[in-house]
Symmetry: D2
Subunit: 332 residues, 4 copies
């Protein structure tokens, strides 16, 4: 029975708490949040102790793993404390927005030897995973082009946007940069990015980029395109297309029902699933599976701090490309 | 160069005339129609002679084949005259609505030995044909169930309906009865039919059935369902589903474009192609191919008078089933 | 907090037990099974008491509802005992296979006034429900034809088949008969059924029908087709098509992933979901929702004993039609 | 009756000749080809005179329009001669590969005032046109991103490749550059391109780029992605996706049949149409319609020499981007 300490009871925290509770090999032991009522609400619901002080929870030997669901800027300090306490760590992406801090963090993890996992949940989506498996199985031969569309139905609230400039790269497309590396099992060596502000000032008051296209080149030669937008009116648009010497694989979108309505106006289906939590519900369950499986088997969790760093470096390069107008070379 | 005499310049006649004109191995030599202006209009367009008297055209040695596109009640007399003149015959379905007259006709054809073809065009549709080929290739093993949906967007005009009671069987579903026999390479031994008048009196003043479901049993044991309606608002709905021990084949509908429109209201595609002449354009070309090919090769055209008779007998049985309320057995 | 006593720990029982456990307004209090180890395994997993004696559980005031998941022939006796103990009842379909016993049961339920629910889960599937809602909203106007395909990938084991002759009607298509009544909000007045044994003797040693087509007529005039098979190699095939004066609605099949694979051999997608428990996972959750919701609100559960009886009567009529070769009229 | 002189009897010439022949308002008067047997074969088939000397045909007053289907390097000289003879000109793309020569050509066309049409056939494809119409109608509001996939199943023969280096831009993607300008009604202001040689030396002995991704920026701010490959094993892949403030439009691929095959291995459809002549058959008919329509109405043909020049300039910029590694700015 793996005991978890959840740090951060907002947003994605309750989702992970429920997934832990549904398992028979894991238990939510503690919820840590400065917001006492958020912690208590989860504690009551899932039978966990609550505190505003992480050290109390870390001192509990029933805690084997710390799950970090707080805002990104707090991650590194929490990782340091959890690592020093010898706990396994499940950390929401990104590790941090400052690559130097990620490097310090990586050293701590290496030195303490604690299992560490960055929660790039999309790797665990059944359809994306089936695409990955098909590439590995050689179904399309050598991959030559990869295209990802990664569009949100809405921009985040202004406060959130203000805290993370270029969030379209650091918060959204960082998932895609990770997917590119994982799907192609290769490193990105060149980044060319262009952005636009297409939303009105009323919706996007900080004029942070809300639309972007990025073109990447891989060390092995494959060409990659990624695009993102914060106003996909038709739902959460999440498609991947891998083209290779023997064929093409498409991870298509998903809809709430499979109803088809025929009328004189045409054939109509549901819009796409709108919320990422619905769209990726299964991926959240399966990433927890993978993390717990690694703890049980004593193996390294499948996505490490180096993966978190690599995706962040691509986001940095994308910003540099936008600012300079040039393609940015990366070491691979 | 096969010379054709087209009898009947209305409705489907011009379509066949254009298909003949587009070939380099056939020529439209004569157009015969009591309506002189209809004949002349086609004659001018395709460089053919015109007449109201069939015998003039039959006397022309440049006429090798007679294409009969007149109303069904005139078919048998025209077939008799063309057969006696030794011409090959391409006859629109049905041969006749009276099975006794079809039998007389069959004798004439047999006696004169002229090539005879009943134009069940759907057998030549590329998708239906691919389904047929897949069955023959054993892709689904032994066929166990067959389902056909055969729906028109509109009922025929009242005058037309008045001339052919139970037209839903004799005019529309007769195609499906032929498809069933052809696809399964088997004979129908039982017919159970139910009908309804769903249209308003304004649209269907004769209260002739406009909606029907028919359940058939084949000699070999397969079960078959066919349905039809005269108000498919979303277009000309033509689907076939063959289920067998190893799988299922679906001949799906077709649309004018492959555009997909995503919005907050959902994903919308075009309604189905609306007119049978568009939907089955390729089948009309290919049935002419098959007829001309048989004439050139000296082989028997692929759909004979016995096929026309068999489909008509099923339509008769469907009417008998509706009237009696019982399933009707057929000799196979 | 609604306390449940689950009777029958095999097959579908554990699924319902897990769905109860995932709720915060219900609790699995008891598991009753003659098979002690089955009961204990569930009891340990979900923190419930276990017994082989129903009366012990019924005596517990923490039990508000009895969930009956035993074989059909045991349902009536269990319903009687639970009703007399004043417990709400959630009963797996069918209520019984003998309509006279169902009638006795209905009297008991009426007399005791206990809430009673027959678990026709398909009514709660999100896509089928969306189709139902669209009919109710008038999207297709008056429904004129309804088609259901309801095919299993495999026949049940011989022992199971031996216990329920014509299981294709009583066990499988009884769902469809219920769906027809529910979707059309109308009663079935005529039943015509044909069956076949298509499977080999090795797979279907009892030669019980494994393939069937049924044609129904509704009191309001709509025509209905239902087909079923026990060897859909491509997965659990569950489609509904409703055709009406203004259009058509299709509840299409579902697949485990949305991956599409393009190669020189064509475009390939996953086969259908294979197991009914996966395909209808959400419907099982939602039927529990509906039952518990009714208990909380003090309303009548949405599917009653009269619905269970009506679907059974159609199954009886289908057998009578097969035996007599005729269409069977039903009182509506 | 518009008389045509076809120059160039190979490849695309016979297609256009057949489309002319199928019309009742146009006639193929002459076929001009240095290859006498190619000219004669078409002449016999369509009843046209033949010659190796263009001037003979241009001298015929029955020739109203010259259709240029020869290799690109010969286009300008032919245009000059036809323009001086006062004939309307239908010219296959590209006008020329040297932009200076195109400019000279444009002057001649302006000076002589002859109607001139560059045959960018894809603008006339019914589905692409429906996408264009939907943008114009405001269905997606302001377009923000445009993605085009334009992949051939095979590379051209080595001889053809040798004559046109960077043919992936000049021969293939030039269509897409035209589509971008047309669909967005906007000019391209920045071009960033990357290429790869993915084919083996046996298939691509000249090591000319066979795979490419291009990212464009429009004057109005929209971002555009185009990709191309010469080995789409699954057929001729031609997709367009337009994303805007109100939704998304997809021009999807097309297949030879609408058959769907279900088995334990999954659901399989046909691969895509393989040949561009099949895929774009309707667009070739409709571009001829547009050209002839303009001649009849005395209006300017819808795609002029300036359009041909603009697409060529983007191809030049793509090559410059590949060579320099930088994004190339364009005047708009």
């Amino acid at each position: 029975m793996i005991g978890f300490c959840l740090v951060g009871g907002g947003f994605i925290g309750p989702l992970h708490a429920a997934n832990i509770a549904a398992r028979d090999d894991a238990k939510l032991a503690w919820v840590v949040d400065l917001n006492t009522s958020a912690a208590e609400s989860l504690g009551v619901r899932f039978g966990a102790q609550t505190t505003a002080e992480l050290d109390r929870a870390l001192a509990d030997p029933a805690v084997h793993a710390v799950m970090i669901c707080t805002p990104p800027r707090t991650h590194v300090a929490l990782i340091e404390r959890a690592a020093k306490a010898g706990k396994a760590i499940f950390c929401e992406k990104p590790v941090d927005l400052d690559i130097a801090k990620v490097d310090v963090c990586a050293e701590t993890i290496a030195r303490t030897g604690v299992p560490f996992f960055v929660a790039f949940n999309r790797r665990f989506d059944p359809t994306h995973r089936a695409l990955f498996d098909a590439i590995r199985a050689g179904d399309i031969g050598r991959p030559e082009m990869l295209l990802l569309s990664s569009r949100d139905p809405e921009i985040s609230p202004p406060d959130y946007v203000a805290q993370m400039p270029y969030g379209i790269f650091y918060d959204t497309m960082i998932h895609d940069f990770d997917m590119v590396r994982w799907l192609l099992a290769d490193e990105i060596v060149e980044v060319f990015a262009r952005v636009a502000c297409m939303l009105d000032a009323s919706e996007n008051p900080h004029r942070d980029p809300d639309t972007t296209m990025v073109q990447l080149k891989m060390k092995g030669g494959a060409l990659v395109h990624v695009n993102s937008s914060f106003r996909a009116t038709y739902g959460y648009d999440q498609r991947i297309e891998a083209f290779g010497e023997k064929g093409m694989l498409l991870s298509r979108n998903q809809q709430p029902t499979s109803l088809e309505r025929h009328s004189a106006q045409g054939i109509r289906q549901d819009p796409l699933l709108r919320f990422f939590i619905e769209r990726y519900a299964e991926s959240y369950r399966r990433e927890l599976d993978a993390f717990i499986g690694a703890l049980k088997d004593g193996t390294r969790p499948p996505i490490g701090v180096a993966d978190g760093r690599a995706a962040l470096a691509v986001a940095d390069a994308a910003v540099a490309s936008v600012r300079s107008g040039s393609a940015i070379k990366m070491d691979a």
